[in-house]
Symmetry: C2
Subunit: 412 residues, 2 copies
């Protein structure tokens, strides 16, 4: 690593710069990450990850969510391989589609039906289109700063976006009852849906669960207006509650968007919905060349089976709590104040008095050097393959990170 | 098959109807197909396909395009399995992304760079967004009736679509120079791009290659206006000319959208572009949870390698010609007039005097019964795994199909 210009990662970056705009697209461009982070990866196993320079990390990004049970999970991979030995994309779906749809309807409390796709953005976009088709209305309420995908109607960037792409988007403030009610009033008789993330996980900000009152208000407003309540579970799905992230509030959505973790890294997304949206969903034309591929569905069936069998939420919750408490103790001992927010299995840790994230970046770079892959601003993820030993390794690396921050910023 | 209510396919349809809106979505819903077509498939191998009732077909749909080299191609599957044994979606891309990008830039004449996605719709939508970002303009010219994907700006259905979704779409007639020039005039100073399929392959219509003059005019108009020429190669890519479908006209696009066949059925899409759009492409925020997965990229590398090594276009062309000539002979002998249009490796066959496609449906149902999977209205596909024996089997089945049509419609 000392001679970075000679590293495999540096060589691949040079080659990529010639044939891929900016070297890498979107959230995966490593130039957005702190110093020392690799761009290219060679291998994963369980909760561990190897970069192309041969360095191993205990990973708390989990492929930005998809790794739920562990990289290269033997049972999931075996189920996928068994299906692949018969076929993946044929001229239509296989039995796996029906089995997975039944398993999701059985697992997710609010689901009467499901439809499969490939991207989280496919799922959120389909939810919006289904809601408009079912209600005959147009306005979609979206929380300010929330991430729901990377196409013009919802992209966090306005580059290449026209104003018409967002003509019917009305913004409210997450967890703010007055703001939500005001946005509903703005939509008037044209309200198709309230779209809301299972919890607030905006990039670079403290995470925030909705209050029970806010969740219930969203439900009541949709009921009163005949609109659809859409929960974006793309990031959160199967990590908080297998039956749906808002079950804890006694609130069931009309539509939910799923992706990332539902097939443990195999490309799959889904919409689940309530009966009253079934006909509309059947009339909207949505499809994709690979949306019926049986391999990802076989992986999804196995992922759900294992998630239910092994009580993975409890496991991630226990280790997430251990990580959170350990980080808090070590930060305090180093004389630093950090804010850890969101569910413990999907943490964000931000430093106080750190407007440009230089403390967070230094912390992460130092931990990375010590073999632990954190992120300074984005939701991190625990998975079912993390062990107590991994958490202890993470806390040792964090101790070094906190020491570096204390050393550099104590007297600033 | 005689007791359809007891067939595996019928049982799966019953189960699917409960948990999937309409039993199946989009173009894959078998209720849109002629009598006797299965909804569910069990297995594929080479150019053959088995449904869940155990019936085998010589397949001319090729999974609606993705099957380029043969189902379960041993070399492609081995390359994918080797990658999967290391990892698929990790925290970023692997070396495979760079190798595949280099291979595409090397293969596709108009490509200076590439970016990967999952759906054909991802690719067409990204092209449009890149063109708008690069030009600062908004209008996109689209041929009437052309299929460019299944989201609101381009969906063939208006269910769930708002008028604003298409505010900046201007329609022209394919292969009609006057119409294209008029649409450019309508766009005025706001022209971002002309979007055009590599050839016209509208559902249920005769296919049509662009004239050289039309292709060149599209290029000239874009040059004159500083707009981007976008070719949608999602359906056509790697079947007409590995270096790009408009190379035959001496016309190079600024952006091309690829998917379906580029990884022989593994979920992958790509945009390739010219240098002047590179910076814009790097600034638009596009991404997806699985867009960097290394397994589909490894499959793509192997697919391209084999496509170049084995001269698959020549093979598909030779067998496609044999199929076309054979079908024509047999139709004439049965006293029927058919129109076979489009490139021979991507055929459509329509019957004269068949406004409701009842001749086409009967022909296809009869051929299906005889073990050959045609489509009455959609582009069909040859693949590199088709053999002379497959074409002969297809022609024998077609003979039965023509006889059935002649028998039922001769005296009508």
């Amino acid at each position: 690593m000392s001679d970075a210009s000679q590293s495999n990662d540096a060589l691949l970056r040079e080659r990529a710069a010639k044939v891929v705009p900016g070297g890498m697209w979107g959230h995966l461009n490593a130039t957005n990450l702190p110093k020392g982070y690799p761009q290219f990866f060679a291998k994963g196993e369980g909760a561990w990850l190897w970069d192309v320079n041969g360095r191993r990390y205990v990973d708390f990004m989990c492929a930005w969510g998809p790794n739920l049970l562990g990289y290269r999970h033997p049972e999931v991979d075996a189920a996928a391989a068994r299906q692949n030995a018969k076929g993946d994309c044929l001229n239509g779906p296989g039995e796996a589609m029906v089995e997975l749809a039944e398993a999701l309807v059985d697992t997710i409390a609010a689901a009467d039906w499901t439809q499969f796709m490939k991207n989280g953005t496919d799922a959120t976009t389909s939810c919006v289109t289904f809601a408009r088709a079912a209600t005959g209305k147009r306005k979609i309420l979206v929380a300010r700063g929330a991430y729901h995908g990377a196409v013009p109607w919802c992209s966090p960037s306005l580059v290449g976006v026209t104003s018409e792409d967002r003509a019917h988007i009305v913004v409210y403030e997450f967890n703010d009852a007055e703001s939500l009610a005001a946005a509903v009033a703005v939509a008037g008789d044209d309200l198709a849906a309230i779209l809301v993330s299972a919890f607030r996980h905006d990039f670079g900000k403290d995470q925030e669960l909705p209050s029970r009152a806010f969740a219930q208000l969203a439900r009541q407003l949709c009921d009163a207006k005949g609109a659809a309540l859409i929960i974006d579970e793309v990031r959160t799905g199967l990590r908080l509650d297998l039956s749906g992230s808002w079950e804890q509030f006694g609130v069931r959505p009309d539509l939910s968007a799923w992706s990332k973790a539902i097939a443990n890294g195999y490309s799959l997304a889904a919409v689940t919905g309530a009966d009253w949206l079934r006909e509309a969903a059947s009339k909207v034309f949505v499809t994709g060349s690979f949306w019926f591929g049986a391999v990802a569905m076989a992986a999804g069936i196995e992922t759900l089976k294992i998630a239910r069998r092994d009580d993975i939420v409890e496991h991630m919750d226990r280790l997430g709590r251990k990580l959170r408490e350990g980080l808090n103790d070590r930060a305090l001992k180093a004389g630093l104040q950090v804010r850890q927010t969101g569910p413990v299995q999907m943490p964000v840790m931000l430093f106080d008095d750190d407007p440009d994230c230089s403390k967070g970046n230094l912390f992460c770079s130092t931990a990375l050097e010590a073999g632990v892959f954190f992120h300074p601003k984005h939701t991190m993820f625990l998975c079912a393959a993390h062990t107590d030993a991994d958490i202890e390794a993470a806390l040792q690396a964090a101790e070094r990170g906190f020491a570096a921050v204390a050393n550099q910023f104590q007297d600033a």
